[in-house]
């Protein structure tokens, strides 16, 4: 058994156990921790596949940014874990197990049918020159900014729309906001007026003195 086999099995076991942890836990924060473990295990698997850049992005963007967002929302809402109370959930659980097994069996049958397991094409990945290898930043950037520049730009528009949409959805009732801003403004005006009056009186007194 090669070293890569050992690595694959270790990361795969970690990912599957943590994935089960996600779906079986009640408290959402433990689910989030499980998902972070899955993401890190997948980053390790990407490394075994010569996708260094994707592995780094997986850690930085997924396990970093997106999961921080999740944990933030979980803590912001801070809901006590709601015990299972609906009957529907039990029915769904009963349905879920055979569905799970059927889907798994189907997948393995298909993989066995098509199991030609093509040997990896001897590509630039096996080169001794690391800069020319398959998953390097250079090769990804070359493809991204030449052949796939249009999808890349479309992605930036998508993210812009997501930012605007998220702000629109998550803000409080706009009427309240306007009232609060109006109040703050009038308060400020009053304070400045008072301050100006006080200054004027002071200067008058000084003149009189």
């Amino acid at each position: 058994m090669e070293f890569t086999h050992v690595l694959f099995l270790a990361f795969a076991a970690l990912a599957v156990v943590a994935a089960f942890n996600i779906i079986l836990q009640r408290n959402p924060i433990y689910c989030a921790i499980g998902l972070i473990v899955v993401l890190c295990a997948l980053a390790g698997l990407f490394l075994t596949l010569h996708a260094q850049f994707i592995a780094a992005i997986q850690i930085i963007v997924y396990a970093g940014a997106i999961m921080v967002l999740f944990v933030f929302v979980i803590m912001l809402l801070n809901v006590r874990e709601e015990e299972s109370k609906t009957d529907r959930q039990k029915i769904l659980k009963v349905i879920a197990v055979p569905l799970f097994l059927a889907l798994l069996a189907e997948v393995f049958v298909v993989i066995r049918l098509v199991n030609n397991s093509p040997p990896a094409i001897a590509s630039a990945a096996d080169n001794t020159n690391p800069a020319a290898s398959l998953g390097s930043v250079e090769s990804i950037a070359t493809a991204m900014f030449t052949t796939y520049v249009l999808p890349f730009e479309a992605t930036s528009v998508l993210i812009l729309m997501a930012i605007v949409g998220a702000m629109l959805l998550a803000r409080k009732n706009s009427k309240d906001d306007f009232e609060r801003i109006e109040q703050a403004l009038t308060l400020e005006n009053d304070e400045t007026e008072q301050a100006m009056q006080a200054d004027a009186e002071k200067s008058k007194e000084e003149v009189a003195a």
Binding site: E2, T4, A12, V16, A19, F20, I22, I23, Q25, P28, C31, L35, L42, L45, F46, L49, H50, A51, I54, I57, V61, Y62, A65, I66, L69, F70, L77, V79, E82, T86, Q89, L92, I95, A96, F100, L103, L104, V107, F108, I111, P118, P119, A120, I121, S123, A124, L134, G135, A143, M144, P151, T155, L158, I159, A162, G165, A166, M167, L169, A170
Partner: protein, 100 residues
Amino acid sequence: MVPLSWYLALSAVLFTIGVVGVIIQRNVIVLFMCVELMLNAVNLTLVSFSRYLGDITGQLFVFIVMAVAAAEAAVGLAIIISLFRNRETLNVDEADLLKL
């Protein structure tokens, strides 16, 4: 070298676990995490095909899937927050306004 089918099988297992999670979990945040799990299972498939075909395109797809996942997480969590403001619950069974 690890055969391609091992990676595909692992990816299928992770995807299936994600589907089961969507079915049995009732907390909307956890449902969201299960969707992320499924996206990651597909990412693993794309990267392993990219490796075994010696083509960089699969990794670019993964990059774009990640950008879409980030956008989806931002919008989805905003929806969850406004849902919680209106309903005071995270249980998806309680959010049934469109149901007859």
